[in-house]
């Protein structure tokens, strides 16, 4: 029972509540205002979309730093194809497939050649962003019809809920089911805790990992679509640096960088906490630099706290086995 209280996810939710309460007081009620929540939702949309599959990737013991570049590449391709006269109905599935292909390249390099995913995706981080520049160059394509850009700029009628968040919520349920209630998800955890053990239990480690990278690529492309419509601007440099924000959110959500541990709920709480804190601080006119520092500190706390509590726990009960 005590363990349950000591869980990181519980701490995150408590922090979220704290941020909401303090934010509400400090901003004179502006924080929990529907309009503000709408903007908050818009701001975290892309990060949340990418964090979903990335959670699975990190739980499996790998990492993908190329996500923001896939987002940029998909945005650039949307712009280029739109300029070439394609219909959006054709462009969007194409772009998602393209994202999946990008993910597959990462996945194949990691699983077939046995390369460390950190190094591979630092490489494709540069490669995909470079391809985005090759595709769209210095152009910015902005003349998308409002029937599509409204998706990124207006709430679901009658609510303050932004469309991307609705999409995100649906997908979050899907991903939560996959990670926590499917045999696939169970395999992901097993691989992350003990890849060798998983292999000895007949789990197709390579195939699972490849699937995760493909999913991440496709979701990053989807985030690219959302991003493009939200700003009604397709550019090659869309989302530069977003990978750090996503990784930070995933780690803050309590996913172990070594794999095998973490929950999707925790990650969503992490995304909300980072986004909410940012929103409160900006509303409260706290300067940008403090924001950066707070992000970094939260990240440090997220890994330090479990490490320290674990050490306190083991020192009180003693180590289990040699």
């Amino acid at each position: 029972m005590l363990e349950r209280f000591a869980r990181w996810e519980t701490a995150l939710v408590a922090l979220l509540v704290l941020v909401a309460v303090v934010g509400q007081i400090r901003t004179g009620g502006a924080f929990l205002d529907g309009g503000n929540l709408f903007y908050l939702g818009l701001d975290i949309g892309e990060v949340a979309l990418i964090a979903l599959p990335l959670t699975l990737v990190v739980v499996s013991g790998e990492i993908d730093l190329s996500v923001a570049s896939v987002l940029g590449l998909s945005s650039a391709v949307i712009g280029e194809l739109w300029d070439a006269g394609w219909t959006l109905e054709a462009i969007l599935p194409t772009v998602i497939v393209l994202g999946a292909v990008c993910g597959a390249v990462n996945g194949l390099l990691v699983t077939r050649l046995g390369l460390p995913s950190l190094a591979v995706t630092i490489g494709t981080l540069a490669l995909y962003r470079g391809l985005a520049l090759v595709v769209l160059g210095d152009r910015a394509v902005a003349d998308f019809p409002s029937s599509f850009t409204d998706f990124g700029t207006t709430p679901v009628p009658g609510t303050w809920l932004p469309w991307p968040i609705l999409l995100c919520a649906v997908l979050a349920v899907a991903f939560a089911v996959i990670l926590h209630s499917s045999s696939f998800g169970r395999s992901v955890y097993a691989i992350g805790s003990n890849e060798e053990g998983a292999r000895f239990s007949g789990i197709r480690v390579k195939r699972v990992k490849l699937t995760l990278f493909v999913l991440t690529g496709a979701m990053s492309a989807l985030a690219g679509i959302v991003y493009t419509f939200r700003f009604s601007s397709a550019r090659a440099d869309n989302g530069v640096g977003l990978e750090l924000a996503v990784v930070a959110a995933v780690l803050l959500g309590g996913v172990s960088i070594f794999g095998g541990r973490g929950t999707l709920g925790g990650v969503l709480a992490g995304v909300l906490l980072l986004g909410g804190l940012r929103n409160v601080l900006i509303l409260d006119d706290v300067s940008t630099e403090i924001l950066t520092v707070v992000t970094g500190l939260l990240l440090l706390v997220s890994v330090l706290a479990p490490a320290l509590t674990a050490r306190v726990r083991t020192s009180s009960t003693g180590r289990r086995s040699p």
């Binding site: 630092i122 490489g123 990784v247 970094g296 500190l297 440090l300 890994v303």
Partner: protein
């Protein structure tokens, strides 16, 4: 366990070890020679000097990063450390124009040391994965930098001429900055090759568990690696000021990925245990040279990043294939016992 055909196993290992540095030198030649054909200016004195100067800051950082990476860790905060150190160094010179140059450089190194201590303590004592720690301090150091800078920029006109001469001056025709870089690389290489604590870093990265059993003070050594990486990044910050003369809070943003790329291209195993400082520095030179070549060859700027990325992936792939080959050779060689 009779004779192990020693010379052969050794030869293969040696070859693969050196193949990396050789490979980079060959790659450099492959890049430079055609470019020089198209545009002879590229290999004139000014062109060569520019190549070396462009690579020098990244090479210095790569030397520090190598110390960390061989221990199976990584320091992603170097870009932010450099930025913070660059700004504080520049501010010191701007506020006290009479500061002796060496003292100013020491300010930079000191700032880097402090950052390194923070990283080192968190990783070695807090026993938290370095990737996460340094990702966190990447934000924290940059935030502190922003907070201190408050949107100001320090320009060449605020800086003493002696400092700027350091960035642009030459000694026997070689830019001073390049000489400093060479010195840092040589010192780090010597440390890793010829000092016990330096060899310990390889041992830790090669087999952390065995390192503990062998009585190596693992936390202390890892701490030292981060400390040195921080100090080197601090020095790089001071050199940055000397080189560019203009510093604001954003200096060095995103540099960490370039540095990691240089280290990996230079043949340092991302999971520790092997690789040399010279290789990493050559990796930095190769990446910088390719970028310059593309400009000179008038390849559209947009292609440059894609080509660097492809190169990085190519490098680690070749590495991996070579390593597999080596492992197979060694396995074959030790099954002897006839």
């Amino acid at each position: 366990m009779t004779t192990v055909a020693p010379s052969r196993a050794r030869r293969i290992a040696d070859l693969v070890g050196r193949a990396r540095e050789l490979g980079i030198v060959v790659a450099l030649a492959l890049v430079i020679i055609p470019t020089a054909f198209v545009n002879p200016r590229f290999v004139e004195a000014q062109g060569i000097r520019d190549l070396l100067l462009n690579a020098s800051v990244v090479a210095v950082l790569a030397a520090g990063q190598t110390l960390v990476v061989v221990t199976r860790n990584v320091d992603l905060s170097v870009g932010s450390t450099l930025g913070l150190s660059a700004f504080l160094t520049a501010q010191t010179f701007a506020d006290h124009p009479d500061t002796p140059i060496v003292l100013g450089l020491l300010v930079g190194v000191g700032v880097g040391l402090v950052c390194g201590v923070v990283n080192g303590l968190l990783v070695a004592v807090g026993r938290v994965p370095s990737l996460v720690v340094t990702l966190g301090t990447l934000y924290v150091f940059r935030g502190v930098d922003f907070a201190l800078a408050q949107g100001t920029q320090i320009n060449a006109s605020n800086l003493p001429d002696e400092l700027l001469d350091l960035g642009n001056g030459r000694l026997f025709g070689v830019p001073v900055l390049v000489l400093i870089t060479l010195a840092v690389v040589a010192a780090a290489a010597l440390y890793l090759r010829s000092y016990r604590s330096g060899r310990d870093l390889y041992a830790i990265g090669s087999n952390p568990e065995a390192a503990v059993l062998a009585g190596i003070p693992v936390p202390r050594r890892v701490f030292t690696a981060f400390l040195l990486s921080g100090a080197v990044a601090g020095l790089a910050g001071a050199l940055w000021v000397a080189r560019y003369g203009t510093v604001d809070a954003a200096a060095g943003t995103g540099l960490e990925l370039q540095v990691v790329a240089a280290v990996v291209v230079g043949g340092v195993a991302i999971f520790g245990g092997s690789g040399t400082v010279v290789g990493a520095a050559l990796g930095a030179l190769l990446l910088g040279t390719i970028a310059s070549c593309l400009v000179v060859l008038r390849i559209p700027a947009f292609w440059q990043q894609a080509i660097s990325g492809a190169l990085l992936i190519g490098a680690i792939t070749v590495d991996r294939l070579l390593a597999l080959r080596l492992a197979r050779e060694l396995r074959g060689r030790s099954d002897h016992d006839a």
